[in-house]
């Protein structure tokens, strides 16, 4: 699992590459826990190269969502593969989190 950060104006984009499981979720949690993340207006999660997510990966996003909302930071997912989106759907998380098809739409949210 590799996490690449790109920042542009008030937007931080995290590109996830690989598999987000109980082993790799710690790395992403560390990135999202950094205080400077809350200085952005939006945190976009590019899921194009995210090939797999388990509950440990979902748990990282669930655990940070309220903290982001309280700080006025929007968390938006884009470029999500169907099999990964399906995992959000099984739990009903697709209705509680903002998931859009493309980067352009994520930026416009």
């Amino acid at each position: 699992m590799k996490v690449t950060q790109t920042s542009d104006n008030n937007i931080l984009t995290l590109s996830l590459d690989g598999e987000l499981d109980a082993s790799s979720a710690v790395l992403l949690d560390t990135e999202l826990n950094k205080p400077d993340v809350l200085q952005y207006q939006k945190v976009l999660i590019d899921c194009q190269r995210l090939n797999y997510i388990s509950s440990a990966g979902l748990g990282v996003f669930i655990s940070h969502l309220q903290r982001f909302q309280d700080a006025g930071v929007k968390l938006v997912f884009f470029n999500m593969q169907e099999k990964v989106h399906n995992v959000f759907e099984i739990l009903g998380l697709d209705t509680l989190m903002t998931i859009v098809p493309s980067q352009a739409e994520a930026t416009a949210v």
């Binding site: 499981d21 109980a22 797999y52 388990s54 509950s55 309220q66 169907e82 099984i90 739990l91």
Partner: protein
Amino acid sequence: MRDSLRISCNRHNLKVVRDFVTNFLEKYSLLELQVNQIVLAVDEVVANLIIHGNAEDDSKFLTLRVSVIDGLFTIEIEDDSPTSYSPATYREPDLQEFIRQGKKGGVGMTLVNRIMDRVEFTNDDHHNLCRLSKKIG
């Protein structure tokens, strides 16, 4: 194709388990979505057994056996942990509440229960067996 696997209780072996299940299912021509769901259900149970059941003790092992009989996929996961999971303790999660509380865990067994057709946990004198089944044919 290999139909059994023995791994030590290290969370780095989750990838080994996912590859094992994916490779086993290859010959059944399932949709990528279906394979991912089954792999996910197995990953969730194995992660629980490694992290909670066996406290990530590398000297402890899990044994996995897979089969497909009459279109029914079954995986059996065995360990000798003194602690065992009791399905009776399962509660449907309130995700909005989880978000409010910033909760990290607690949705793994929900995925397993929603994906698999049958989920069984049995234990007998510190020997635990989890059996997951799903119709794929």
